[in-house]
Amino acid sequence: MADHFYTLFDFLVYTKGAAYILMGATLLGILGFWLFLTGRDEEKEIH
């Protein structure tokens, strides 16, 4: 099947798909990082 070729549209679909997945991972990752970062803040307030 040598007649298969990739178009710019294919490229954009592929990269935008990757970007959307990364953005979702970013949202979750930042949320997790924030929870890690502030995990002990409450302890400070109790004292």
């Binding site: 990364l22 990752g29 930042i30």
Partner: protein, 416 residues
């Protein structure tokens, strides 16, 4: 540094002063050479590499590391985090000196320095990114100058003009944030003009975003770094409020920097993904890119988070150093290492010792001016006549070592 100054009677021949004097002498000689014999006499710049370390280090790093001015004043006056108030003046002074030195460095770098004001008066060039950078830097330098003036006026005893500037602090801060947002990002946008010269891993349509976001982390880390050095060398110039708030500033800014670095890491990865440049990561440049991204972005973000969780001031301070080095590395990579990456090694740029010496000379000049100002003007302490802090219950008016500036406190307060 401060000991000999405050004592007044001690010798001027301290190791710091002697080294600074030697650097200044060499710098003056090289300055004479630069302005009499031209750029070719002191630099390795060429048509292939017209921008060297005076742009890559003095300008790009100088502007990024001076971002502490707008981040600190925005935190205090725009976001209302008054507990960071004591960090504002040192940050403003650092930023003002940083931007001043950026302009001085430009005078060395521009072939015909007397034409530096041309973009503003001879032609507008409004479609040029460089014009926008120049205009913003010029306006922001003036803004920083005005923001710094209250400390100068308090020192000189000019109360009325000082009170007027304090009243417009919020407006100045907003103007500073707007101008910084514009030119910090535009410095990255400059490199959008060279897609064929900059390595694909560093080239991205999001370069302006990368430069702006990383400048916030640089500014926050620089405030921690500068505060730590000042705490060590200018301790006797600090009042009780500054000393009390210092730890809070370090941990608070560490928390902010951790989040910004985490976000910066994520958008850098998205930048790779959206241009589908994963394959470059397997090359030598890819390894170097990963060193920058993992070692100087992800690692400091994690270390900052640990420092904040454990309330570990020492770790936060060392992480600030790592972050500052990371920002310098990123600007070096963008402007020098990954720039003209396809050229033969013989055509690549490496700075001459004289270029490096002039950069060191300018940094030394900045340090000396900082010391001169900080040991005389109310930068790390508040003049009791213009006290803005509401004293805490049982708080001393000044620290035990802070005896030279114990003036009678007036009951009225000014400003915020």
């Amino acid at each position: 540094m401060a000991t000999e100054n405050s004592a007044g009677s001690k010798s001027l021949f301290t190791p710091f002063n002697v080294v600074a004097a030697i650097i200044l002498l060499v710098g003056v000689a090289l300055t004479f050479l630069r302005f009499t014999k031209g750029l070719g006499a002191v630099t390795h710049l060429s048509d292939n590499n017209p921008w060297g370390i005076w742009i890559g280090f003095d300008l790009l790093c100088g502007v990024a590391l001076a971002a502490g001015g707008y981040t600190t004043s925005a935190a205090c006056y725009v976001f209302g985090l008054k507990r960071y108030h004591s960090a504002v003046r040192p940050a403003i002074l650092t930023a003002f000196l940083g931007y001043s030195l950026v302009v001085v460095a430009l005078l060395y770098d521009v072939g015909r320095p007397w034409r530096l004001p041309y973009p503003f008066f001879v032609q507008s060039g409004t479609t040029s990114v460089l014009f926008e950078v120049g205009l913003c830097v010029m306006l922001y330098l003036n803004t920083l100058f005005v923001e710094w003036l209250p400390a100068c006026f308090e020192w000189l005893g000019f109360q009325k003009p000082r009170d007027f500037i304090v009243k417009i602090t919020l407006a100045l801060t907003i103007l500073g944030v707007i101008l910084s947002t514009m030119h910090q990002s535009s410095l990255g946008a400059l490199y959008l003009l060279a897609p064929s010269k900059l390595h694909p891993l560093w080239y991205s349509m999001y370069l302006p975003v990368f430069f702006f976001v990383s400048s916030i982390a640089a500014g926050l880390s620089m405030v921690i770094f500068e505060g730590t050095l000042s705490h060590h060398y200018l301790h006797d110039r600090m009042d009780a409020a500054y000393k009390r708030e210092h730890d809070d500033v370090v941990l608070g800014f560490a928390k902010g920097a951790a989040m910004v670095l985490a976000l910066y890491f994520m958008i850098k990865v998205i930048g790779i993904g959206i241009d589908n440049k994963w394959n470059y990561l397997l090359s030598g440049y890819g390894a170097w890119f990963l060193v920058e991204l993992l070692g100087f972005v992800a690692l400091p973000a994690f270390l900052y988070a640990i420092a904040v969780r454990e309330k570990n001031l020492k770790l936060a301070k060392w992480t600030a150093v790592l972050t500052v080095l990371g920002i310098i590395l990123n600007r070096f990579n963008t402007s020098l290492v990954a720039f003209n990456w396809q050229l033969a090694p013989a055509d690549r740029y490496f700075p001459s010792w004289m270029e490096i010496a002039i950069s060191v000379y300018l940094i030394t000049l900045g340090l000396l001016v900082f010391r001169f100002v900080a040991t005389r003007m109310p930068i790390f302490h508040e003049d009791p006549r213009y006290r803005q802090h509401v004293p805490h219950e049982g708080e001393e008016e000044a620290g035990p070592e802070f005896t030279e500036h114990k003036l009678h406190r007036h009951p009225q307060t000014f400003g915020h």
